[in-house]
């Protein structure tokens, strides 16, 4: 597909801006990770990660999000090859898996809070809910964004616009999975050990 010089200039500018946003988002998550690492043993006499987390549940969550990220990559390939139908199927699967992931995360939060392990219980739980909740919030925003993209695909005909917008979403979605690897490793795997 040939793009006009104007389109290329616009795409490059938007890409740079979005990429810089992602890098600052990295800083946000790093601060939260550092906070969690420092506070993870401050349980105020309450239960720690090894009593609260269910590793099997989290592994399923992890694999669902990874699959979502993978399918999102396939959607990106499809749209770059002009396969609109395949693209919609893949993007739909990305959203469905994202919803499944978010539901599981909220179920876990609900279970913890229902058992009385609220963010107010201890510094450890405050840090845990902030870190994992911030990631969940990003996922929720990503889901809204992806839904808007599907709607935009049918609304406006310009393929170039969809391509540019979707590329940004794909980067965002892959980025969220990268953050989750570290939540999985640092919060859960190292927490239950």
């Amino acid at each position: 597909m040939s793009e006009s010089a104007e389109m290329i200039a616009k795409r490059d500018k938007v890409q740079l801006g979005f990429w810089l946003y992602l890098m600052t988002d990295c800083m946000l998550f790093t601060s939260l990770f550092a906070t969690y690492m420092i506070l993870r043993n401050s349980t105020n006499g309450g239960p720690g990660g090894s009593e609260l987390f269910s590793m099997g549940f989290v592994l399923v969550e992890t694999l669902i999000l990874l699959t979502s990220s993978y399918v999102c990559g396939l959607a990106n390939l499809a749209i770059h090859n002009g396969r609109k139908k395949e693209f919609v199927v893949y993007l739909g699967a990305t959203i469905a898996l994202g919803i499944a992931f978010l539901t599981m995360e909220l179920t876990e939060f609900g279970k913890l809070i229902g058992e009385g392990h609220t963010p107010q219980t201890s510094a450890f739980l405050s840090a845990f809910f902030t870190l994992v909740g911030t990631h969940g919030l990003h996922i929720a925003i990503g889901l809204i964004w992806a839904s808007v993209l599907i709607w935009a695909l049918y609304r406006q005909g310009r393929q170039e616009d969809i391509l540019r917008k979707f590329s940004l979403f794909a980067v965002f979605w892959h980025f969220l999975d990268v953050v989750w690897i570290f939540i999985f490793t640092i919060v859960y795997a190292m927490g239950v050990k």
Binding site: C26, M55, L77, H174, V178, T185, I186, Y188, M190
Partner: protein
């Protein structure tokens, strides 16, 4: 025909990366739940290495940071961000875990002091 083959090849690249990343997650899970002989420290080092490897795989095959045609500022800013992040994270953890040295306290005294501080509230 050529285009379709190229499309397949790119799809396969994604599939390999997906399987590798999934295998690493499952390996970390298996290590965490098995009653292994590892100490906490060596366990942490192993799973963090697995996470770093996954970071490399996903950055390369999903985020396409190895793409020769992609602008150079992407890889540069990414590398610089990681460099800064490591300083922030490792630095914070190191400082907070060694507060007692700087205040001339033993670790127990430090714990007591921190507890008394937290009881005061905000």
């Amino acid at each position: 025909m050529q285009k379709a083959r190229e499309y397949r090849r790119q799809q396969l690249r994604y599939a390999y990366a997906y399987l590798l990343a999934g295998a690493l997650s499952i390996a970390a899970y298996a290590l965490a739940v098995s009653a292994s002989t590892f100490t906490d420290t060596s366990f942490a080092v192993i799973v963090l290495c697995a996470a770093a490897l996954q970071l490399y795989i996903q950055s390369r095959y999903f985020l396409h940071l190895d793409d020769k045609e992609a602008p150079r500022w992407r890889l540069l800013s990414y590398a610089f961000t990681w460099f800064t992040l490591l300083i922030i994270a490792v630095g914070s953890i190191w400082i907070m875990n060694h507060l007692n040295y700087n205040m001339g306290m033993s670790p127990d005294q430090m714990d007591q002091y921190m507890n008394s501080q937290s009881l005061k509230g905000f």
